[in-house]
Subunit: 253 residues, 2 copies
């Protein structure tokens, strides 16, 4: 299969890292070979999943041409590896911006190891800057988490315009796998309204599985475990299993 | 007085825009002359407050040297003006990165109009990139909203290290006004734990006024009104009034 999936939304705090970490760990739990690339200088996904201290990061791959396989470390989940980030990625961001060839850096780095994995997920920072563009260039498709608030839907047209522009020249086969609604609080009318607006506008592209507000998801990062290891008996695990199954179905169509 | 306050936290979705918009509108409500500068290419604060369509934005000030006063528009709040953002700010970000003089661009643009206002607040994007550095260079002090979750406290040391580095050479008088805890959900032990950790680490720098989770704050942006206009009888208005009073006291010390 070996599919590369970029998880992006320039609005901050919508659940990109939460989705990247938990979807990748569910896919690994289903027996797939999975790599998560942390492309955010905040390195939240790396803190969440990388078990051991690491010296090299994805910044060394972009800046010094270190092969990607030399920086990959094991995660706390069997079958899931991680290519960790570091604050050095912010410096890489500035160099990426000034050099056209840099745009393909991640894509080139991936080509050497792509066959080792069934799925490669890329977590991105909250911006449409050079790092996210690099991740779009390397991807087969993008997945967009949308918090059920107002501002996250306000920026969707900028995001999808950027994707369309990339598709024209740089990455003609870039698919849009769809929108996952996150932090859905069924007690509020706002969440329902946002769901209606997004479903009317994007129709079949909105996943049926919606991720509810769940305090266990906010607690899991400090325990450095994905949700199915941190709260194995909580119903949120079933929601994420359903999401992983829906994702695989959408991928095959 | 004319104080310039930058509101920053590189973690996304912690309530920077919410704090910038509502604190500036409270200060205007107390009879102060206030300007809010939207320095985020997402332009969330501009959508929230700018009443009329605008042609020029802060990007034109940075890139083409347009005087700041030519782009300032009225907001829906008496006494509060706004210098709006646009997506063109992302292009400015790349140019800012490559030219040392650019670091002082905002500071220089502000010097012409600083005396027209008592308080100038700057909303920043979720990153420690060139735009936020520009805002730190122009500021008298910084205010840091911290969502009561794990990741927002994880990145605080990077943020404060950046502030210390700027203080050494570029902006020796840059103060740290403190931390405002946001989206506090008293039903969860996570919020209490985060409050304890942050208060123990930063002591007197943590505001006593905590902004609770309140659905009215998530609804207000789509109505394009600050909280005191959108929900005048809601107790969240009193919390923000308390916060504005505490902010003025901390400023004077
Ligand atoms: N469904 C959920 N319910 C409750 N909390 C959640 C949920 N999903 C994520 N969180 C928490 O909300 C915060 C924001 O989520 P997350 O960090 O995954 O967003 P992000 O889009 O990656 O943020 P950034 O833009 O900074 O990269 C985190 O503290 C996370 O633990
Ligand atoms: N106390 C609160 N209770 C409930 N919702 C809130 C609260 N404060 C802010 N919000 C909502 O949470 C979301 C995130 O807040 P906001 O956009 O202000 O954060 P931000 O730090 O500016 O995000 P970004 O990093 O994208 O700039 C918004 O949808 C906002 O309306
Ligand atoms: Mg993230
Ligand atoms: Mg904001």
């Amino acid at each position: 299969v070996n599919t590369v999936i970029t998880i992006a939304n320039q609005k901050g705090g919508v659940g990109k890292t939460d989705l990247a970490v938990n979807l990748s760990s569910l896919l690994a739990g289903m027996g797939r070979r999975v790599l998560l690339i942390d492309f955010d200088p905040q390195a939240n996904a790396s803190y969440y999943l990388a078990q051991d201290e690491y010296k090299l990061s994805i910044a060394d791959v972009l800046l010094d041409g270190i092969p990607l396989e030399e920086i990959i470390v094991k995660s706390c989940v069997k079958g899931l590896d991680i290519a960790p980030a570091s604050i050095g990625l912010s410096a890489a961001q500035l160099r990426l911006a000034s050099d056209v060839n840099m745009q393909f850096k991640l894509k080139k780095a991936l080509s050497a190891i792509k066959n080792h994995y069934d799925y490669i997920l890329i977590d991105t920072p909250p911006s449409l800057g050079p790092l996210t563009i690099n991740a779009f260039t390397a991807a087969d498709g993008i997945l967009v988490p949308v918090q059920t608030h107002f501002f996250p839907i306000h920026g969707l047209s900028d995001l999808l315009k950027t994707v369309d522009e990339l598709r024209e020249v740089i990455n003609p086969n870039l698919r849009f796998y769809g929108i996952v609604l996150t932090m859905y609080d069924r007690r509020t009318s706002l969440a329902k309204e946002v769901q209606q607006v997004v479903t009317a506008r994007f129709n079949g592209k909105v996943f049926k599985t919606v991720i509810p507000v769940c305090i266990k998801l906010a607690e899991a990062p400090s325990h450095r475990k994905p949700i199915t290891l941190y709260a194995p008996n909580n119903k949120i695990g079933k929601v994420y299993t359903q999401l992983a199954e829906e994702f695989l179905k959408r991928l095959e169509n």
